[in-house]
Every structure is written in structure tokens, then in C-alpha cells.
């Protein structure tokens, strides 16, 4: 299956763009959606051990250095779900068929880059596939060709260039001490040269590059502009999965496969996690723009993931992986809802909204589910992942970080309640009497994502024992 997850998106892209197959453009949305759905079904059934890996038949013919682990499966599932949500949002928000076709092309390319990143165990290949996603993202952010989008895209390009330079310099330094750039070889080389200045510099550069990609404080300033200025379906993809995989997933993999979790790298990750969780929540509190508030909330939630990872225990890393998945789902849900609200009201300014839940009941209810999960309210999925991280921090002797995580949860509740009150609750604001519920293309992903959030919380016990905890134990081992 790993081979197909790389080859099929590329093949679909080439087929859709063949001059003789212009008719295929009309059904391009459905072809892209089927591909993403196939990834969701294949990964979910493979995780549950329901069916054998049918795609494995192709693996011997196309030799690519890919590996499928429990962590990859969780990430691939999240990628498939968020890509589907983004495609459906694009169907509702992009009216022009030709523009929608181009958007689909970029999403498929980004999906290929994300899949590759999730399946690789080699530093150079990791860099190449992160770049595929990054180049697609630059164009997706500037998709509308307005000045905000171009500015957001430009900022992302500049920061990405800094991250790229750090990653490449790090790889070059590792190549001086390692027989190849596979994770295993670099880890072995690090064990021999662990006190070398240059090896530590390489590790530091690698972490810095990924901190930038993941939008952690103080490398976060590109993120609110990129998320808020991108068109709605691109925001879903960016906030839901792109920065998570390019930055945070890569950090999880690098810190568990190459560096030593719980060592000096763990301390750095822990400190940045605390700073990001607090700063992101405080900055989110003061926002009027709905998407900017969600963007700062992402910075804060990523801080939680870093706290779990930095704890260095199996429970903490498992909590980080589960929060990674949960955050991908509930943040995509909240951005889909932001698209629905923006589409109906024509604004993202929360001070010009109010009481719209009476006109948009489905959007209102799914929004409550999304923010309850983000704030860690039981029994939703976000509650369980936060509890896992807080317990792991306490057990590992990081009581202060554990208390900070609880307090940031309160702050999260505060800014989401403020958003909910300003946008959905209360009396309907004057002039909004004519607004209607969002189109079915937006409601389908919103309801689906809300159901996943509820289901992952209600069925936490089997999810924890069969999927999440084994992943945490594997990564720490």
C-alpha cells in the first residue's frame, strides 16, 4: 500500500491533465474525492486489521524506500479525512469549474507530499516531500490572487526558505558522519559522535527548521497571515493537516527516530511547547477575525502536542499522537464552519456577527462540538488526548508543565466561548435576517468531522488500547 499512496496521486494528476482527456476535468472533483476516500477506507481497515493490505501486491514492482508504521497509519487517515473535507469545501466555495479543477490538482499534489512525508524514513526524502507540500501550499494560499493572499503566501515562502536552509544545512552536517541519510543510520552515527559540536549543531538546525514549519512560538508569525488570507478550502487543508504533517509529525518522527526523546531535545521541545500553548491562547483571546483566532488557537494546540512529546514517556507520546489526530479533525471542522459563516455573511469579523445559530443550526451545533473538543470537554476526543498529556507530564515529574496545560485549557474554553457568544449565541444581529444555512457541500464535511470527533471520544477505550498506546510504546522504544 505505501507505494500506491505515492504513485496514485501523481498518476491521477497526470491523467487529469492529459490534453486528450479534457472531459475528465468535469469529473475531476469526484476522482480526487474517490482517491482521498480510498485512502481513508484503506488506512482505517488496515489499522483495524479488517482486510489484508491489497496494495502490497504492487510494492515489489516499484521499489521505494517507504515504511508503514502505526504512526503512519494514524497520519494517513487524518490526511485522507482532511483532504476530503477541503475538497467538499472547495466544491461549495469555488464556483468556476476551471478554478476548482486547478484547486483539485494542487490538493492532490499536496496529498502526495503529505503521504510521502508520513511514510518516509530518510532525511533527504523527507525534505523533498515536505517541499512538495510547501510549494503546493504557497500556490494554494495565493489561489485567489488578492493582495492578502499574495502577502500571506510571500511570508510563508520566506519563512519556509529559512526552514529549508536549516534542514539542508543539518542534512549536510549529518552526511559527514553517517553512511547514509536513513533515520537508522543517522541515529547510529549520532550515538558515536554525540558530543561533537557540529553534530549538535546539525540536530539543533533540524529542530529549528521543523519548529518553523510547525509554526511554534517564536517562529509562528507567518501562520496567522497564511491561514487567514488563504481561500477557505485551502485554510482547511493548511490548518487541518499541512502544517501538522510538515512540522509537527516530522518533529515527532525526528525526535523519536533520530534524537533521543527525553534528552536535551526533549527539554527544548517542552519549553517551546509551554510557550506556544500559553502565547497562542493569549493571542487568540484578542482576535476579531474568526480565522485569525482559529490560527492562534492552532499555535496553542500544537503546544500541547509538543508537551506530550517532550514528556518522553510512552503515555505522553501516545497523547501527542492522539492530540495530533484530534486537532487535525476538530480544527478542520472549525475552519469548515468558518468557511460556512464567511460564505453566508461575507465577513470574518466576529464583531459584525451574532445570534446566527438560529439561521445556521447545523453549523452552530457542529461548531460547539469542535470547540468543546478543542477545549477538552468530556467525552469528546480532545478531552482524552489532553488528559493523557497532563497525566504523562505529572508522572514524568513535570508538575509545572502539567498545571500550565490545565490552565491553558481554561484559556482555550474562554476564547472559544467568546467566539461562540459573538458569532452564534444571543439575539440575531440586525441585517442578518436573510442569511441561510450553508450549502450541503459544506454541511457534509462539517457533520462528518463532528461525528468523528464524537466517535473517537465515545470509543476511546478501544482506540487507546489498540491503536494509540501501541504507537506511543513503539515510538519511545
Amino acid at each position: 500500500m505505501p507505494t500506491l499512496l505515492i504513485i496514485l496521486p501523481l498518476a491521477l494528476l497526470l491523467i487529469l491533465n492529459l490534453p486528450l482527456l479534457r472531459a475528465a476535468r468535469r469529473v475531476s472533483f469526484w476522482l480526487c474525492a474517490v482517491l482521498a476516500l480510498a485512502q481513508v477506507v484503506a488506512t482505517a481497515t488496515h489499522m483495524g486489521g479488517l482486510i489484508p493490505d491489497l496494495g502490497a501486491a504492487f510494492d515489489p514492482y516499484i521499489v521505494l524506500q517507504l515504511r508503514m508504521t502505526g504512526l503512519s497509519e494514524v497520519v494517513l487517515l487524518a490526511i485522507g479525512i482532511v483532504v476530503l473535507a477541503s475538497l467538499f469545501t472547495a466544491r461549495a466555495m469555488i464556483a468556476d469549474h476551471d478554478e476548482r479543477f486547478k484547486f483539485g490538482n494542487l490538493v492532490i499534489l499536496a496529498m502526495m507530499g503529505l503521504n510521502g512525508t508520513a511514510l518516509l524514513a530518510d532525511l533527504i526524502s523527507l525534505y523533498v516531500f515536505i517541499e512538495i507540500t510547501a510549494v503546493s501550499s504557497f500556490i494554494l494560499i495565493a489561489f485567489d490572487r488578492d493582495s492578502d493572499g499574495l502577502e500571506g503566501s510571500f511570508k510563508y515562502i520566506i519563512l519556509s526558505a529559512v526552514a529549508t536552509a536549516a534542514l539542508l544545512a543539518s542534512i549536510a552536517l549529518f552526511m559527514m558522519v553517517s553512511p547514509d541519510t536513513s533515520f537508522a543510520a543517522v541515529r547510529a552515527a549520532l550515538a558515536v559522535s554525540q558530543h561533537s559540536f557540529y553534530v549538535n549543531l546539525a540536530a539543533g538546525l533540524l529542530l529549528c527548521g521543523l519548529f518553523v514549519k510547525g509554526g511554534l512560538v517564536p517562529f509562528h508569525w507567518w501562520l496567522p497571515d497564511a491561514y487567514s488570507s488563504a481561500p477557505a478550502p485551502a485554510s482547511v487543508l493548511l490548518a487541518g493537516i499541512i502544517t501538522k504533517v510538515s512540522g509537527i509529525y516530522a518533529l515527532i518522527v525526528v525526535s523519536t527516530s533520530i534524537l533521543t526523546v527525553g534528552g536535551a531535545a526533549g527539554e527544548v521541545i517542552m519549553v517551546l511547547g509551554i510557550v506556544s500553548a500559553i502565547a497562542g491562547a493569549l493571542l487568540a483571546l484578542g482576535q476579531r477575525d474568526m480565522k485569525r483566532m482559529l490560527a492562534y488557537s492552532s499555535v496553542s494546540q500544537v503546544g500541547y502536542i509538543m508537551l506530550g512529546l517532550g514528556s518522553g514517556t510512552a503515555l505522553g507520546v501516545a497523547g501527542a499522537v492522539f492530540h495530533f489526530f484530534n486537532h487535525a479533525i476538530f480544527k478542520s471542522l472549525l475552519f469548515v464552519n468558518a468557511a460556512a459563516v464567511e460564505g453566508s455573511l461575507g465577513t470574518r469579523d466576529m464583531d459584525r456577527m451574532g445570534g446566527i445559530a438560529s439561521k445556521m443550526p447545523v453549523t452552530g451545533v457542529t461548531s460547539i462540538i469542535g470547540f468543546f473538543s478543542a477545549a477538552g470537554i468530556p467525552p469528546l476526543a480532545g478531552f482524552w488526548s489532553k488528559v493523557m498529556i497532563i497525566i504523562a507530564l505529572w508522572q514524568a515529574g513535570h508538575q509545572t508543565a502539567s498545571v500550565v496545560a490545565v490552565l491553558v485549557g481554561v484559556l482555550t474554553l474562554a476564547y472559544f466561548l467568546s467566539m461562540q457568544r459573538r458569532v452564534f449565541f444571543g439575539r440575531l444581529r440586525e441585517g442578518l435576517g436573510e442569511i441561510r444555512e450553508a450549502r450541503m457541500s459544506i454541511l457534509v464535511p462539517a457533520v462528518s468531522l463532528a461525528l468523528i470527533t464524537v466517535a473517537a471520544g465515545l470509543f476511546f477505550k478501544p482506540v487507546f488500547s489498540k491503536i494509540i498506546m501501541p504507537v506511543g510504546e513503539m515510538l519511545v522504544k
Binding site: 521505494l64 468556476d96 476551471d98 499534489l109 533527504i124 523533498v128 490572487r145 552526511m175 558515536v192 559522535s193
Partner: protein, 168 residues
């Protein structure tokens, strides 16, 4: 006979100067020439450091092909008035006067501190010593597929961002 170290240091300094010029100049054509010059100097550095194939790639793609594309694109743009250009140039000078100074100070600090190289190298051939041809054609198929995808993304970007919209 000039010491190799002096030549390499001079080349690196020239390359840095060309890169700074590329970034701070307000005229697009000069920026494109500055980038080509930076690439050409990097080509010489790569060749002197024993990577002739990488040098050939750098020269043909970065200094050659990309410069041609940039110059072609610049011919499609319109010039700023000379007053506006002069104003922008003085603004840039005011804002970035410290950049060359910063590079010189960084160079002096690096030279004076002489950070010890204490890598305990792998006992055998390291990744940096592999033959480029073997790396490209035998061991990095996946990266070649990745490069194709990046090129496709770039092509879609050009078509999308530079094409006139049908509506508005």
C-alpha cells in the same frame, strides 16, 4: 603561490557580496544578474571543493536556465520612473547599510574563534563521499519522483497565478 584558503575565502566573500546585492537592489534586472553571479561563484566553490557534477548542475540550471527565465519575465514588466527608483534605492541603503558590515563581523568572529572540528567520523565511506551519478540513478528513485511533483506544482502555479481571470 596564493594559499588555497585565501582563494576559497575570497570566493565565499565575493559570493556573499553578490547575494547581498541581489537582495537589496531595487532593479529587477540587476537582481537577476546578481543571482546569476552568485550561482557562478558558487559553481567555482563547488568545483574547487571536489564536486564537479554538482558544479555543472549549478551552472547550467541556476546560473543559466533560471537567469534566462527571470530576464524573460522581467522584459514583460514596466519600469519605475527614475525618481521613484532613486527614492527606493536610498530607502534600501538606509535600511540595509549594516548588512555588509554584519557579514564582515561574522567572518572575523568565525575566523578568530576557530571552532574545533571534533567529529568522530563513521569508519567507512560516509554519505557525503558517494558518487553523485550512483546516488541519482541507483538509490534515490523516490526523490526523483518528488522532484517531478515539485516541477508540476511549479507549472500549475505559473498557469494559475499568471493567467488572466475569466471573470473580474
Amino acid at each position: 603561490m596564493i594559499d588555497d584558503l585565501v582563494v576559497n575565502a575570497a570566493l565565499c566573500m565575493l559570493m556573499t557580496a553578490a547575494a547581498i546585492w541581489t537582495v537589496v537592489t531595487v532593479r529587477l534586472l540587476r537582481a537577476a544578474i546578481g543571482l546569476a553571479l552568485t550561482s557562478a561563484l558558487l559553481t567555482i566553490v563547488m568545483y574547487r571543493f571536489g564536486s564537479p557534477l554538482a558544479a555543472a548542475f549549478e551552472l547550467s540550471v541556476c546560473a543559466g536556465l533560471i537567469s534566462v527565465i527571470f530576464v524573460s519575465a522581467i522584459t514583460l514588466t514596466s519600469r519605475l520612473s527614475s525618481d521613484r527608483l532613486n527614492q527606493r534605492e536610498s530607502e534600501v541603503l538606509r535600511r540595509f547599510w549594516f548588512l555588509p558590515l554584519l557579514v564582515i563581523i561574522a567572518g572575523v568572529i568565525l575566523y578568530k574563534t576557530s571552532i574545533p572540528i571534533e567529529i568522530i567520523a563513521f569508519e567507512g565511506k560516509t554519505a557525503a563521499q558517494d558518487d553523485v551519478r550512483s546516488i541519482i540513478w541507483n538509490t534515490r528513485h523516490l526523490d526523483l519522483i518528488g522532484q517531478i511533483a515539485i516541477l508540476l506544482a511549479g507549472a500549475i502555479g505559473v498557469v494559475l497565478l499568471f493567467k488572466e481571470r475569466k471573470h473580474g
